[in-house]
Subunit: 214 residues, 2 copies
């Protein structure tokens, strides 16, 4: 689709990327000129027009430093957003997807970019899209995004995503281990806790956040 860039255009594009990595503002035409050792500003302008036409960047003519990178190039600008894979959905009757950290890199999941405060700096955070109304007792509705931290063993009090084997039910509840039983307490205090055998509960992750858009 995109025509190959000339060597000079490639150089310029790389220079712009590099420049914006080091500074917070985009370069001027003359920055590019000297940075790429080009003899004239008009040459820079000429090639910028081409880069724009080919969709690599956008320019705001009327403003200085009005260069804006597009495409995958731009994504790097979002770099202190944390990119989180949406590895599947969580619903009443369906098993929970595996929280397999290794697979995340290999597969092309939908991703959401979230600010770090939502993931608490945790490494193994993934997201599930909620389907249906079955989690309302956890104050989670249809379409919400549940952020889960992949963990080995939940602490008492953690809100976890759990799979109840016998009921074939996925649920979000506060987790309390009591001997060989597990007490699951809904966030909504209007609802009753349930107690089940520990062997019957499979915890897939700790809930670190919920995001809802409407």
């Amino acid at each position: 689709m995109k025509r190959p860039l000339s060597k000079r255009q490639q150089t310029m594009l790389n220079y712009i990327k590099d420049f914006m990595g080091k500074n917070i503002y985009p370069p001027t035409v003359r920055d590019i000129q000297t940075g790429c050792e080009i003899s004239s500003t008009s040459v820079v302008d000429y090639n910028l027009q081409i880069l724009q036409r080919e969709g690599y960047l956008q320019r705001r003519r009327e403003v200085s430093r009005g260069i804006e990178l597009l495409g995958e190039t731009a994504t790097s600008t979002l770099r202190n957003l944390v990119s989180i894979p949406v590895v599947g959905s969580i619903a009443a009757g369906e098993p929970l997807p595996l929280a397999n950290t290794e697979q995340w890199n290999d597969t092309d999941f939908d991703n959401v970019d979230l600010p770090p405060f939502l993931t608490k700096g945790k490494e193994n955070v993934f997201a599930l899209r909620v389907k249906g109304e079955s989690m309302v007792d956890a104050l989670v509705g249809d379409g919400d995004l549940v952020l889960l931290e992949s963990i080995e063993q939940p602490q008492n009090g953690d809100m976890v995503a759990a799979w109840l084997k016998d009921r074939e039910e996925a649920t979000l509840k506060h987790f309390y281990l009591e001997g060989d039983k597990v007490k699951l307490v809904p966030a909504n205090s209007y609802m009753q806790p349930i107690t089940v055998a520990a062997a019957n509960v499979s915890v897939r992750g700790r809930v670190v956040g919920v995001v809802r858009t409407m």
Copy 2:
């Protein structure tokens, strides 16, 4: 440690943050001038010097748009995060804070930095912290952050933050205007809708998102 900023300096600092959330390049002196309704560029320069001396930002005199935010301000703002003021809290017995767009830049609210998809590109988005359990029928719990878009008139079906004058109650419900009455429908379909006189309802904003961390 840091001397208190004047109102104007606070306004300018917030404007710069906001500007850099929306654009990839820092504002010019004249951007700040018009954005903060200052009559002269020299005033902007004067206050920028103070902000620089107090360590809030750094400037590169020789380049245009050479403003660089420092400290906690910097990290989040540089990238494509939208800075949203948390203008107050929403609770059962307390009146809702005013959604006054003008005040946002002037006052030093707590801010949260959110990715654009949560604000849907809307301009007038602010946030309220939920206190108490009174909004569970809207699937919103204690400590949640409700993102509101400041609007003139809600459309039917919108989820709005409303103040019921007679009950002295703040609530989050779907809004339906029916003649001179308003029907308010909870998100949780287990609960019953209520219908009240339109004159009794004061809508402060449209809910565009909910964020919960735990």
